[in-house]
Amino acid sequence: MKRLRAILALSVLTTAMLAGCSSSGSDDTGSGNSSGGKQTSEAKQQSANGGKTPLTFWTYVEQHSEFFQDAAKTWNEKHPDEQIEIKTETYPIEEMHSKLLITLQSGDGAPDIVDVNVARFSDFMQGKEKVFVPLNEVIEPEKGSFLEPVLDIYKYDGNYYGIEYHVGSPMMFYNTEILDQAGVKVEDIVTWDDLHEAGKKVLQATGKPIITFEVKDSWSYYIMAGERGGDYFDEKGNTIIDSEENAKTLAFMLEMLKDGTAVTTPGGGFHTEEYYGFMSKNGAASMLECMWYMGRFTDYMPELSGKIRMAPPPVWDANSVYPVFGGTATSVTTLSKHQDLAVRFLAEAKISAEGAGKIWNVLGFDPLRWDIWGTDVMKQDNKFTQYFGKDIFDIVIGMKDKFHTSNITASPKFSLANSLVAGDILFKVLSEKSETPEEALKSAADQIEKAK
């Protein structure tokens, strides 16, 4: 009997605790139908924010949150009767994506607007239920002036589920001081073989490598392989990571490493303190990255100001393309209570010509809107034009017709493939030299197949 009473007491306590948990929810829907309850709560929220509609924005890049704060200010000036208040939250990249997954799974707590890394985007696009709002109505009217290969990265079944910040044009950064010492001209380097030959001259004259190859990060390899049609997946998501194009690219890198015209990157990748230190002391004569890497030069290698010249990357042959794969998409979640407003705000922030200009002048990215590339907006005085000169976008304009969409969002296994390239293939083939290109690529392909 006493036992029964104890159990009773316990269950009362449990009920009390659970009731405590859910009491906040019952306020909204306690009376009347649920949509009526929602409206009252929205009205309450608005009045609490001085008539402004609150929108939450999650990102993993601090500068993006500043960009959206600025965009909200502009929006409020233009739309006095539709004021918004943007609440930005910045998290470390992995934490943000897992938080996003969990909130989308549970159907509660997801942001209105969110940055999604391109390598993780397809994770969110699986299954029948879509978690992001199609942006067609704001993208399609402007499509003519947008770079389609980059828009298409986030296109599934004819719908655009995200809008990119930048093209991420592949770009070669040459250290002209080292090249001058060896009597090498940037214009003479057209193909990768030219670069290899120039590397021999640079090595002889200065003892320095002409290029560095990453062994802990994948993007420069992804560009090199992508130029000749290599990728990790085809358009349908089939694994082609062990393709001949990829193996040939690795073999070429190995050859340059062997004769000393290339070295592996100190720190393993381009985004390490070790590498900034190495490059700023004139460690190597060039590097291959995307255009937004400019910011790393201006911020971490100020010593090289005026010495770095940007140029289109070398190609393999006349058929080579320049792969583009963006970097970060911004999407509106279907859990947002203000979807329409969020979409229109996002359009003004990132799709309008004014927004695109800010993407360049505030963030230092190459915006998708190519119709402004030739305008004076892109030649304004900012830290990038001061460092690299005013003609940065003339280079991009020259590359425009060769841009080609990478299949970066074709398979949900892209993040696995990318981690295998960055963590296994490049290191084992280029640094440890414990596996041949074919062996390493085959092993990665097997692992991806097993994970499917």
Binding site: R3, G127, K128
Partner: protein
Amino acid sequence: MTKRTAPYLFCAPFILTFAIFMVYPMIDMIYRSFYKLEGIRSYRFVGFDNYHRIATDPHIGNAIWTTLGFTAGIVAVNLVLPLLLALALNNKLTPFRNLFRSAFYIPALTSVVVAGIFFRLFLAGNADTPLNAAMRLFGKEPREWLFDTKMTGIVALVLTSTWRWLGLNILYFLSALQTISRELYDAAHVDGANTLQRFRHVTLPGIRPIILFVTTILTYGGLRMFGESYVLWNGNTPGDIGLTIVLYIYRTAFGQFDMGYASAMSVLFFLLLMVLNFFYIQSMGIGSRREER
């Protein structure tokens, strides 16, 4: 409320939180280990597929090797070194004892991220890092210490962890040393025991419980190593250097959203820990009748 019901009520908050935040997720994890996450909300039943995958995954062996190697290393180093330092700091002849005591403890207060970044730069491959500069004095080429071999990876992990954990372990040993009665040493001295004999027959038996305690926390700290490994290699461990089991599970779950596979690995890791736990409890005689008497 009676005397009989009161204990249930007092225990209830703990039992409830334990059930909601520990037991339920664990049961859910076992359940998920037979499924595969497809998309956001749909799971597909795959039977024992995730477990079969573990058997052929080339990274698992490396992760186990690194984890066990690190555990062995951290237990060995962090038993001997703190004990020796505690003995020195307990000795009245040591100058500036209090200064050293706090100096050794300060690293324990730094965050793993700060310590990790510091050691990442210290072990970097540039020719001008302190370590490589020192190597040059001996006529050695600069090396990428963190990307050298799996063994150097383990050593780097032990080094970083020891730097942070040393102070705390010294503290444990110091407090244990101070509980040994002075009289025992005097008696041993009178019996003609030399320093080594006094250490072996008086000090060691006196601090035995603490040695066992420190060994236990080091073993579990070693097996669940994540933080240092994550920061030292910046979340990416090329060639599986520095890849621990927990880091691999974390990366599979949150880097690749492969929840089912990560759950299966966690289930096996849990079983492995339970087996170790069992042997540990057996060898210490915890809970046996002998202890009760």
